[in-house]
Amino acid sequence: MKDPRIWGLKKSPWVYHVAAASCNNCDIEILELLTPRYDVERFGIVLVGSPRHADVLLVTGVINRKSLPRVLEVFEQTPKPCLVIGIGSCTCNNHIFRNSYNAVGPYDKYLPMHAYVPGCPPKPEAMILGVVKALGKL
């Protein structure tokens, strides 16, 4: 409550969904999180269509040589301050792709990550917990 900028960010985190070469399972769970059943608009969370409007980037998928520059570009396009939250086990470590020549993760080598939500895919409740923890750290 000291900084109005942080208060605004906590009260209306707009989410942009960066699908960085995931298997689509986490993406489907994110979409489920945004359905009326969980009603995250109670907390001001809205899915936006452009990274320019976003406050929170939800990245999914194991990071690889092809997707890394794209993810970094999306991060640079996002106005600051913004949060980055990794969804799924692939973002935490390289998961089942750890022996692959192409996997260069995890994400915090390249981006300031605020939270990781493990799970393959994580449940919507787990994602809500992750976002709450990330916002609580601000």
Binding site: R42, G44, S50, D55, P79, P81
Partner: protein, 308 residues
């Protein structure tokens, strides 16, 4: 009476200009989100939500995309915003001092309501993004579409009063002889204006310029921070002023306590239309406006000449 000096400044900045219209408009966007939530059996956001959004956007970094025309890109939101401030003063002034307005203010208001879409087109074209260019072209097509039935519908009250193009005269005629809405031509014209409001606000089924699923919020895609806040504020103010305009022209004016209920009813009707209709394709929207609403508008004009 006429306003001078400090009174004029007060009218533009505090009441009924910027501060009042923006606050009511933001509260109405909360009503929009709340009713939408209830339609979907949700709880919906708290009352301060639109204000929190606005605060956050105003304090956030503003990014100007590389290669965009900086001045045009940043000044375009101001155009629509300023137009809405002037509109609110004009609209409330003619309602409470019907004798004090000038001849032709109905036409001035039509042009002022045309400015926010034009501001969006200019800003989107300046942002050098292909998706926002697609959005701008859609917005232009939509604008050409809805302006014809909108003007036809506004001719109806002018004919009914025998050629008055002063809003004050329209308000006085309604106070004397009952609202224009309670007649066949009036109902048709008011329905046309209601649908045109839907298109002017860019709400579904006419949100093709901002289609989030296909062109990623189209015209607003490159906007962030303060300019985005200005665009959202302009839209919120329009969401308040367009129903005010409808009530002024067709439903007896704003100078009574019933006007608040009327405004809320129109706003909720707009929200329900928004929540129950899928998006038109742009060519279907154009066909709908020109050939269905346009024909209805001509029918309303003929009925108005027959004093129905």
């Amino acid at each position: 009476m006429s306003l001078t000096g400090w009174e004029l400044a007060f009218a533009f900045v505090i009441f009924p200009g910027f501060a009042f219209t923006a606050t009511v408009g933001l509260v109405l966007t909360w009503v929009d989100r709340f009713v939408s939530a209830r339609v979907q059996w949700r709880k919906g956001p708290p009352l301060y939500q639109p204000f929190a959004d606005m605060l956050k956007l105003l304090l956030k970094q503003t990014v100007v995309p590389a290669g965009a025309s900086k001045v045009t890109f940043l000044l375009a939101p101001m155009l629509g915003f300023a137009a809405m401030c002037v509109t609110s003063v004009l609209l409330f002034y003619v309602n409470f001092f019907p004798q004090g307005s000038f001849v032709g203010d109905l036409i001035v208001l039509v042009y002022l309501f045309a400015l926010p879409p034009i501001a969006i087109i200019i800003g989107a074209s300046a942002s050098r993004n292909p998706l926002s260019a697609v959005g701008a072209s859609r917005e232009m097509t939509l604008y050409l579409g809805y302006e014809l039935p909108f003007l036809l519908a506004l001719v109806v009250p002018v004919i009914r009063t025998g050629g008055a193009i002063r809003l004050g005269d329209l308000v006085l005629a309604q106070q004397a002889g009952g609202p224009f809405l309670y007649s066949v031509s009036g109902v048709i014209a008011a329905v046309i204006v209601l649908i045109c409001i839907q298109a002017k606000l860019g709400y579904p089924p006419f949100d093709m310029a901002e289609a989030e699923q296909e062109i990623m919020s189209g015209v607003l895609i490159e906007y962030s921070g303060v300019p985005l806040a200005m665009f959202r504020l302009t839209k919120a103010m329009m969401f308040f002023l367009m129903p005010c305009f409808l009530v002024t022209v067709f439903w007896g004016g704003l100078a009574s306590w019933w006007a608040i209920l009327k405004l809320l009813a129109i706003a909720v009707l707009i929200i329900l239309i928004k929540n129950t209709n899928p998006r038109f394709k742009i060519e279907h929207a154009l066909r709908f406006f020109w050939f269905i609403l346009g024909a209805l508008g001509i029918a309303a004009v003929i009925l108005a000449f027959m004093k129905l």
